[in-house]
């Protein structure tokens, strides 16, 4: 009964490919997030959705497109993958927005060859 689950855990692909990462939470939260953790372990928010509505969209290349089909799911599609996209991507969720405890998944390690 994992609270925030991401699939796949590992993703190895070539430059130029398109890939998707899926995230599901069973905590009943209404807000979900995507974070990127780089090789130096720096964590930075990419997107945030509240009740399927986009509320935070950081300066992320438009090759990255999040989609929230419902409150419990937030997927991340990445087009034309580049070497610099190699990182660990974390999904998180919370009740409400701003200043609320966030629960993280265990990440998807994306490696671009």
């Amino acid at each position: 009964d994992t609270a925030v689950s991401q699939t796949p855990k590992y993703l190895v692909t070539q430059m130029g490919n398109d890939k998707s990462i899926k995230c599901e939470q069973n905590l009943g939260h209404d807000t979900m997030y995507w974070y990127k953790q780089d090789s130096k372990k720096f964590l930075k928010i990419m997107f945030s959705y509240n009740n399927k509505e986009l509320i935070i969209n950081e300066t992320v290349p438009n090759r990255f497109s999040p989609k929230s089909p419902d409150k419990a799911h937030l997927n991340l599609h990445i087009n034309s993958l580049e070497l610099g996209d190699s990182a660990v991507y974390f999904c998180a969720s919370s009740t409400g927005t701003g200043g609320q405890p966030q629960h993280f998944g265990d990440g998807t390690r994306l490696s671009i060859l």
Binding site: K41, I56, G98, P101
Partner: protein
């Protein structure tokens, strides 16, 4: 522009000792200050959090000290154990709808026997 500065980058403490990690922030609109613990291959997990209406919060061996005037907060781990060896992140955010969690750069803690 990094809005949350964290130090030290790494820390080695003997078993039973006190681990202290410090963070400083710039944005006076921040009013939520959590600490996250991350083990290798796992997502960050919320450890303890504080809001600026109190100067200290304690949960078990973990204590946050908060100094609003200095815009600083710190995590103290009492009686440090080898199982505490992990990367610790401080973070800060406001409470508005579009407030995002801004993370520090992380501190890698190693507790030796």
């Amino acid at each position: 522009q990094q809005q949350v500065k964290q130090s030290p980058q790494s820390l080695i403490v003997q078993k039973g000792g006190i681990s202290i990690i410090n963070c400083a922030y710039e944005n006076t609109a921040f009013d939520y200050f959590p600490w996250y613990q991350q083990f290798p291959g796992k997502g960050p997990a919320l450890l303890i959090a504080i809001r600026p209406d109190v100067s200290e919060k304690k949960e078990g061996r973990f204590t946050i000290s908060f100094n609003k005037s200095a815009k600083q907060f710190s995590l103290h781990i009492m009686d440090s154990q080898p199982g505490d060896s992990a990367t610790y992140f401080c973070a800060a955010s406001g409470s508005g709808t579009a407030s995002k969690l801004t993370f520090g750069t992380g501190t890698r803690l190693q507790v030796t026997l």
